[in-house]
């Protein structure tokens, strides 16, 4: 059995053991194959100055990564921060995924989750301090060896040097001594001009294992004696199981057991294929409820009614909108509509669980190990300290794996066996039973004076709130470990007052443009469709609405889309800067090849400002995006090439949504199922992408999501120029 999903070189040399300690916390200990195991709490001669850094007695530098690696490059980013202050080449740092632990809780959310493009920003100080305190201990140790003052010790790439002599000693050789010394709690950090790796280091730490098929994902976990499970799920929303007939299926080769559980009908067999085939032979009867008839049209009708009848929460109210609009020469009004979207991670949801008497091991590709632990505790009935979450490499997250539904299901199934069980979702289940990016409906109104100067802006949003769906599990993970699940459910608002949810309004309430009056209202309407966080969340729809409507206003004002924006961004120099950079590089305003048109958009999300310019043509009614020019300001850059990669990634992900993405419901069932009817952008449609990264010494902000919001409006704005059609809903469909 492989415990560790980590880099293969590490696997080969040692095994990672995750062991429970008396306090209910977890700690890591290493042992060499063939050697006797070092008891927990006594890692002889290893140096562990804080929760993230360890130097083993063999001299290996190990980073305990408390964020998950799902492609966004956090492994490399965190190693760069640590290595910078430690004075240690990041590419020599070995990385292990963190267990659940108090030290690893994300300060922004109070949870051990990876989301909101926060890994770099919230670890900017924390991990550099971890590195600096490690370095300080080695300096102390070297000074002691040489019997000199610490000020005479210099460090570089894992070696201490004695100033003014040729004496040197590696960190590895100092580990035993350093382990006996104490680390300073708030060590001094470098200034930006001293950086050796930050802003320069590019090689991905996980690039190699992932180019040789060696990275270990959730779906690859294989404890001995493994059984495979598939689930038969309610075909329509809100339906529950009445009964089922599994007689024929039960007799099929390899089938272990077929039984009903809270998640559906579990089919467990010796192999995945046997389970899948047997599932096809099970006949089930379902009881429906009022949700089971829901269609997409009804969802939008509910939204429209909400906007018609309710004023909603006023989330921004600057100036006197009515007064300002009363003086307008022309009023511009528009309605925008955005669909539900599935995450479609390449690795379908899966989870492997092994429940023994007092122990439950969970291997999962999860963005929230502590929520997974809570969910496993609730489903297994075991206590918190008995649950062991093993985080793996993740085949795409995008917010999907913040929800722990698949962990819950796998535990419910594995409870019935004393062997490990792996649950694997099919692509069809992954598409039909996702927790979706919410659909939304927007009404916009703005007034222009007779010179075309915009006066007032009114944006009304009908959408549900993601946290309402998320709080049940998240609050359990936030509550103390002894809190009974029943009480957690009772107080699931817990999460909402700790973490206010801006998912419906982000990117709308913070409109940067200068209008004399701005009002943004949110009418909360929840049709009951399961929803979750999805790459860039609210920014993914509000960015489209705001930046498309701004283009409409520019057009009505008879002004160029770029200068119209620049004039209204006087107080937002970073927005102006990225717009100008992208425009200059793309040749905004200059002629393009015949039939090609430019469109632009700028949007700030998660602290990062991104402008994008799309070059688009329409060929035989088909939309083609030829080139995207992107300028990004994310503060201090840690790994320049990863910033570029994340912009490329956000743009392509956003283009899939702009051109194809739509989940629809008919009679309570999702109509899409696999990549033929929920298509992804492919390489033959993928544009050339050029990224300009702004140099900055401001604190760094995230890059995993901010590349996405500007692309759909940039393309829609270009299409307007190409065809005269203003497309106000996604996906973009020409008449």
């Amino acid at each position: 059995m492989i415990d560790s999903p980590l880099n293969p070189s590490l696997n080969r040399r040692r095994f990672l053991k995750v062991m429970g300690t008396g306090s209910g916390g977890l700690m890591l200990a290493f042992h060499l194959p063939g050697c006797s195991q070092i008891p927990p709490g006594q890692q002889e001669n290893s140096l562990r100055p804080n929760a993230w850094l360890e130097f083993t007695s063999q001299g290996a530098c190990v980073l305990t990564l408390d964020r998950v690696e799902m492609g966004q490059g956090t492994m490399t980013g965190m190693a760069t921060l640590l290595g910078e202050e430690l004075d240690y080449d990041p590419s020599r740092i070995e990385v292990v995924f963190a267990p659940v632990g108090k030290a690893y809780v994300q300060p922004d959310f109070g949870l051990q989750i990876t989301g909101g493009s926060t890994s770099i920003s919230s670890n900017w100080v924390r991990l550099r301090e971890a590195g600096a305190s490690g370095r300080a201990v080695f300096v102390k140790a070297a000074a002691e060896v040489w019997q000199v003052d610490q000020s005479q010790v210099r460090t570089a790439n894992g070696v201490c040097f004695l100033q003014g002599s040729d004496k040197q000693v590696s960190y590895a050789d100092l580990v035993a001594l350093a382990a006996t010394l104490s680390a300073p709690s708030s060590p001094e950090l470098k200034s930006a001009d001293q950086f050796r790796y930050i802003g320069k280091h590019n090689a991905r730490l996980d690039g190699r294992s992932k180019s040789f098929g060696l990275a270990d994902y959730g779906i690859d976990q294989e404890p001995d004696d493994l059984l495979y499970a598939v689930l038969i799920r309610a075909p329509r929303l809100g339906s529950t199981l009445k009964g089922f007939d599994a007689e024929a299926a039960q007799r099929m080769a390899g089938v272990e057991r077929i039984f009903a559980c809270d998640a559906g009908i579990a089919v467990v067999a010796q192999s995945y294929w046997q389970a899948r085939k047997a599932a096809e032979q099970v006949k089930a009867d379902w009881q429906t409820n009022e949700l089971s008839a829901l269609s997409t049209e009804q969802v939008f009708a509910q939204y429209a009614t909400g906007l018609d009848e309710e004023s909603g929460d006023s989330v921004r109210d600057d100036g006197d909108l009515d007064e300002v609009l009363a003086t307008a020469e022309q009023l511009v009004e528009a309605e925008y509509r955005l669909p539900y979207l599935a995450h479609a991670t390449m690795e379908p949801q899966n989870c492997t669980v092994w429940i023994r008497e007092d122990r439950c091991d969970v291997w999962a590709p999860t963005q929230g190990p502590d929520i997974a632990r809570y969910v496993a505790r609730r489903a297994s009935g075991l206590s918190e300290s008995d649950i062991h979450i093993h985080t793996t490499f993740i085949g795409g997250g995008f917010g999907r794996r913040l929800s722990q539904d698949y962990v819950n299901e796998a535990v419910l199934i594995a409870k019935e066996f004393d062997r490990p069980v792996k649950l694997i979702w099919s692509r069809e289940e992954d598409t039909r039973y996702d927790l979706y990016r919410p659909a939304s409906l927007h009404r916009l109104k703005a007034g222009l004076d007779r010179f075309g100067k915009p006066l007032g802006w009114h944006h009304r949003i009908a959408a549900p709130v993601v946290l309402d769906h998320y709080a049940k599990d998240a609050s359990g993970a936030m509550a103390p470990g002894w809190t009974p699940p029943a009480i957690v459910n009772f107080s699931s608002n817990f999460a909402s007052w700790i973490t206010p949810d801006t998912s419906a309004i982000e990117g709308a309430e913070d409109l940067p443009y200068d209008f004399s009056a701005i009002a943004v209202d949110h009418v909360k309407v929840d049709p009951g469709v399961p929803i979750s966080y999805w790459r860039a969340v609210g920014h993914s729809f509000n960015g489209f609405v705001v930046e498309s409507f701004m283009d409409e206003l520019a057009e009505k004002a008879g002004e160029d889309a770029l200068s119209f924006r620049l004039k209204r961004l006087q107080n937002f120099p970073r927005h102006q800067n990225v717009l100008k950079l992208a425009a200059e590089r793309a040749g905004w305003g200059y002629s393009l090849p015949e039939g090609h048109f430019h469109g632009l958009a700028v949007h700030k999300s998660f602290g990062t400002v991104v402008a994008e310019i799309a070059e688009v043509s329409v060929e035989q009614g088909r939309i083609r995006v030829h080139k995207v020019t992107c300028a990004v300001d994310c503060g201090q850059v840690v790994n320049p090439d990863i910033v570029v990669a994340q912009m490329e990634s956000g743009i392509i992900f956003g283009l899939t949504a702009a051109l194809y993405g739509e989940i629809t419901l008919k009679e309570g069932a999702v109509e899409q199922s696999n990549f033929h009817d929920y298509p992804m952008l492919r390489m033959n449609e993928s544009p050339d992408i050029e990224v300009i990264v702004v140099e900055s010494q401001e604190s760094p902000t995230g890059v995993g999501e901010p590349g996405l919001p500007p692309i759909a409006p940039a393309v829609a704005n270009a299409l307007y120029r190409a065809t005269g059609q203003r497309l106000r809903s996604l996906p973009l469909r020409l008449a």
């Binding site: 690039g207 994902y217 294989e222 995945y272 390449m346 997250g397 490329e648």
Partner: protein, 158 residues
């Protein structure tokens, strides 16, 4: 009983005839580099070589490969002895989540084996069966071009 050669090793297995090759590779032979993405031949995550050609193992019943020669990502190269494409992949930091990349590499290597000097359009076309949700296409293109350019360079100096 089905017999085939995989990465140079002969295997004889007793599995139901209709089992997709993908699950035989992953769960019987325990080679986890080949991935499950869609099960319908739509995403390319499960791409392997059958007698040198790229095929989708998720829709290939194991019985149909009796007596044939297969290669998976584990046979393409190792960190010690990488395929030129794997070197280029690392050099360009192609992988993000990495889940699609075994399939991408198997498609790319089959392409270059059949056509060592594809045009950009031919690369895009040949690779369009492989979905990458993380959007690594620009880098895949560059990495393949690095290899084809290097091969051109070699020929020129010969």
């Amino acid at each position: 009983m089905v017999t085939f050669t995989l990465n140079g090793i002969v295997h004889s297995l007793d599995v139901p005839d209709d089992t997709p090759l993908l699950w035989v590779i992953r769960d019987e032979l325990k080679l986890k580099g080949t991935k499950f993405g869609c099960g319908m031949g739509l995403c390319g995550a499960c791409t392997v070589h059958l007698n040198g050609q790229a095929i989708r193992s998720c829709i290939t019943p194991v019985a149909t490969i009796n007596g044939q020669r297969l290669m998976t990502i584990e046979g393409l190269g190792t960190p010690e002895q990488p395929h030129p494409l794997q070197k280029a992949w690392v050099q360009h930091s192609v992988p993000q989540c990495g889940y699609c990349q075994s399939g991408q590499l198997m498609s790319a290597s089959a392409l270059l084996a059949a056509n060592p000097h594809p045009t950009e359009a031919q690369i895009r076309e040949a690779m369009s069966g492989n979905v990458c949700r993380c959007g690594t296409y620009p880098r895949i293109l560059k990495a393949i071009q690095t290899v084809t350019n290097a091969m051109t360079g070699e020929e020129e100096t010969l």
